[in-house]
Symmetry: C2
Subunit: 354 residues, 2 copies
DNA sequence: TCTGGCACTCCACTCTAGTGAGTGCTGGCC
DNA sequence: GGCCAGCACTCACTAGAGTGGAGTGCCAGA
């Protein structure tokens, strides 16, 4: 291998493997085998797997080398090898290929989006179920952020005695609402007038941009209602609490792990919307598509891997898809499913908001 | 005990126990002990527990009788006793007392509702978290059913090229939306006119009552948009798919059970909104507050108990609270928490919708 | 450089007591 | 008749010994 020295001198050339073809094949075999069986893989199994045509002794020495280099580990002496996080990482980066959905899965995705219609939230919720079904992972779908969407309509609807509802429609079709307690009773006419002034005030800007000051109308009741409406708009910005998260197939975590406390800690994480959303964001920000084991820095998820896929509509990011599974998850399948569903979701959202 | 004979002659008088005081005390001790430790309870432990001052031999013979009568069972010979579903049932009906929240819990509930405001959905979601925290059970909160709420406002908001959003506000403050594809392009004026006609058509009736036929305006574009809006209103009734469900603290199931496949099957059930909602409804319909073990007929939940509490606003049912835990859940605590939170939630919803 | 062979390791499983918590029963006492 | 001390018995659980087998590392030879 005369090229090894050349390679080592280069600073991590892109696409380079650092492993000769046979070691790569062996690593591939160990990873795929282990993903399937969850059992440590011995040299004999590797030989039986396709792609390697040397004796088990040779495989053994290569596996020893792979272990020295940190790609594999042994649970104990005289057991087979299992991939380390580094091993999975190498597999994902260089060996896994793009993978593709099986025809059945493609069909399922196509049908899903052909029949998808109606409310976006419901659709995202179902998308998470679809992804979970396709991959046997827990799926997370983060809806489009409405931060930059302009206000398309504001309405003030009376609900009875001193109570009203501010209903805001954003340009991307999102609807926000907030109850307002009015300082004094107001009739339809007042509410309608105040709603109109509110609309004139907020239309075209984003929720966060809505200013505080509204020019007085001369009518105190209307002004009071308008002021209450403006306050409600500001409440909306805060209460919104970031993006919506839809989690599907959390029961899959209980299938993937047999230690019940692993399941518990993972579920605990999944219950914290904020944590999950920022986790996905962090992973994307570091430029990753897959975060394996400790790469994401959340300790209770050390035995998990996360596949992240941005959903973009016309080049603008409009959401995120995440798949959570054990580190021995089926990466090619998960990546393929995330990509396909992400693309289709993007198209779908694009159609809906054009 | 001179009264015992009197009682026995009456046909199942309400509040009657069917068990003499000592057996009841023993059953109570077994249930509370088992709830705490999850270990089969032996006669010695019962003696040490308060309320029983006879020898362990006597307790043993009583326990044998309780087992004969189906209140207790032995996992195997020479093990202690654990309560059967019937034992739990008797405990809940006659022995558990009403129970009450500890001061810390009361405080937590008070604070929660003092600070609760804003969107109702978000509030219900958080309520499920509160209940899970209080009881260490998985909490389910079903939102108010909007079926009987009259339409308070209808609006047609254009989202661009042939797309519009029908936004419906119901009298109870719920907001529904549905995207509509218009048969042809429509400008603001047309949408506004169509929205007005839609509103006049639907205002005051419930969504389900909205009729099909709208009197023509003479303007084909307006009529087309109006028709599309009416269709969207009908879609809403179907797509709504019943009530909203909020599940909190599903990780608690992984704490309660040590068999990972029990956890999995319970989580699988919890993912099916429809199943959960109708489950709670069924239990309420049979007049129960607690469904223990197989009483609810859902096989995978045979080792679970469910506490249900209707939430009523001014006497009208406006939602449901459910607590899901193992059959050895802390019934007094769960019942107390469900009652307190249910009441406060009802008051809160009442204030908001008055 | 690869391979067959060999000695070695150590988990997983089975089998065998031994232990202890718990029971049912019985005969005597109040 | 109800209660209780004592006793024999049951059976899950644990620890320890033995065994089989999957797997390893190393080495000598092609």
């Amino acid at each position: 291998m005369p090229t090894v020295d050349d390679r080592r001198s280069e600073p991590a050339p892109p696409g380079d493997t650092d492993l000769d073809a046979r070691k790569a094949a062996i690593l591939t075999a160990v990873v795929t085998e282990y993903i399937g069986s969850a059992q440590p893989v011995g040299s004999q199994h590797v030989v039986e797997a396709a792609g390697v045509s040397v004796s088990s002794a040779t495989v053994r020495s290569d596996m020893a080398a792979l272990e020295r280099d940190g790609y594999l580990m042994q649970p104990h002496t005289s057991a087979g090898r299992i991939p380390t996080d580094k091993g999975y990482r190498f597999f994902v980066d260089h060996l896994g290929g793009t993978g593709s959905l099986d025809p059945g899965g493609r069909q399922q995705v196509r049908q899903f989006f052909d029949h998808a219609h109606g409310e976006i939230e419901q659709m995202l919720e179902r998308t998470s179920g679809l992804l979970a079904d396709l991959t046997d992972c827990t799926a997370m779908v983060v809806g489009p952020s409405h931060e930059s969407a302009a206000v398309r309509s504001v309405q003030l609807v009376g609900l009875g005695h001193r109570l009203a509802l501010v209903v805001v429609v954003l340009a991307d079709g999102a609807v926000r609402k907030q109850t307002v307690e009015l300082p004094e009773d107001a009739d339809e006419a007042v509410l309608s007038e105040a709603g109109g002034r509110l609309a004139a005030h907020a239309l075209g800007s984003t929720l966060a941009e809505v200013g505080n000051v509204v020019t007085p109308s001369g009518h105190p009741k209307v002004d009071a209602a308008t002021a209450a409406g403006v306050a409600a708009l500001h409440d909306l910005v805060e209460a919104d609490g970031g993006d919506q998260l839809f989690v599907g197939g959390s029961s899959r975590m209980a299938v993937a792990f047999d230690a019940v406390d692993t399941v518990r800690s993972v579920l605990t994480i999944l219950e914290q919307q904020l944590v999950v959303v920022s986790l996905l964001r962090d992973i994307l920000d570091t430029g990753l598509t897959v975060a394996i084991g400790t790469e994401h820095g959340i300790e209770p998820l050390a035995s998990c891997a996360i596949v992240v896929m941005p959903v973009s509509v016309g080049g603008v990011e409009a959401g995120t898809i995440g798949l959570l599974g054990p580190t021995r998850m089926n990466y090619p399948l998960a990546l393929a499913a995330a990509r396909v569903v992400g693309d289709r979701l993007g198209e779908h959202l694009g159609e809906a908001s054009r």
